[in-house]
Symmetry: C2
Subunit: 204 residues, 2 copies
DNA sequence: CAATGATTTGACCAACTGGTCAAACTCACG
DNA sequence: CGTGAGTTTGACCAGTTGGTCAAATCATTG
């Protein structure tokens, strides 16, 4: 595929279809468990045709991942130092929960990678994510020092928000089996709101 | 391998070595990402030799899984209806956290399966786990109705305990990168204790 | 409507993988 | 120490998989 010139209509359509199909396949089988052929079929293309648009399976995966990571961190970036601390945190929790509901495949794709030791992600985590986490952990610490929210280990607080919200996407198979008819996302917002409100509302 | 008679010394040793190696390999690459050869080498055997002890890759996996599940649910089974509610729950949280620290590979093996839709686990989850969860959710509900702990959706309460504790094992790669030198398991017990104490201690 | 570049595909390849098998080797025991 | 059961392995096989390539088809535009 001509790499340098502007993408044609067909290129845009097919590359988008491939990435969409790849998200589906990768997120439900992991990298090793996914085959180029499965992705191609899901995108409505033949295998050689898919490989005309991306040089390799790994290239598809990488493009998917780097595209994902930005979106994934947006809610945390939006944590506003100028806002009311408790409201900011509660809003962050709800945003993350919504992402688990609206983009479960993205969450599972990410989870798949991390669980397996993040072999294809170490760089990004160590760079972008770490910087952002340090910044926001400091912000949380400042809020605690000012007595505006209860004290708690800032990083563990962030971890807890991630794990609680992503759990509904990542462990969806288990959650739905155990909840039966009831939609997990019905009670979850209230549950998490209560949890963090009780956890963080200053005693005084 | 002669199936019916009592296992020889060599059989016991090699089967144990294989399961140990398989836990290592499966938990860090998933089922599809693991090869029989990798497991065999990790166990110090040749591939045909490994297949002398287990009829197939799937058989190794199944034996590993069914052995794991029992241990995995023990902490929840131990939730005692006769105990002091808050203490029982806090103890459960700490037991689960300890399992994440002491058996992270088992946790990741399980996570790997669930994230990918539990293709090899649906039966067990729908059966054993569901029954146990219904029972313990009812117990939590009773404690809430009696005003002995704060109200909260019982199943979401259980989910939150699982996700918060297993996160330290399943997302170990991310957690360790972000925490640097600091051992995640140093502050985690205190953090979770505080969280659930504030969440569940009755207001009155 | 050429003709040129973009797109698609069938045929193919080499590496890998799960699994088989007969032959060789080792061990426990009489 | 011999013998039969238990154990190990090299060679092999068939199916899958990531990826290549030349030839064929299609779309765009001068």
């Amino acid at each position: 595929m001509p790499a340098d010139r502007a993408p044609t209509r067909i290129q845009r359509k097919n590359r988008a279809a491939i990435l969409e199909a790849a998200l589906d396949v990768f997120s439900s089988h992991g990298f090793r468990g996914s085959t180029v052929d499965k992705i191609a079929k899901a995108a409505g293309l033949s295998k050689p045709n898919l490989l005309y648009y991306f040089p390799s399976k790994e290239a598809i995966f990488n493009e998917l991942m780097s595209g994902l990571l930005d979106t994934w961190l947006d809610p945390l970036r939006a944590l506003d130092p100028e806002g009311e601390p408790l409201d900011e945190i509660l809003a962050y929790v709800q945003r993350k929960l919504q992402m688990s509901r609206d983009f479960p495949r993205e969450s599972r794709l990410y989870a798949n990678e991390i669980v397996q030791g993040a072999p294809r992600l170490h760089g990004v985590i160590a760079a972008d994510l770490k910087v952002l986490v340090e910044e926001k952990a400091q912000l949380l610490q400042d809020w605690m020092d000012a007595g505006r929210i209860n004290r708690a280990h800032p990083k563990h607080l962030l971890f807890s928000i991630w794990s609680l919200t992503q759990h509904y996407a990542d462990f969806d198979a288990q959650v739905r089996t155990l909840m039966g008819e009831e939609d997990p996302f019905h009670a979850a917002p209230q549950y998490l709101e209560t949890l963090y409100r009780r956890m963080l509302t200053p005693k005084s």
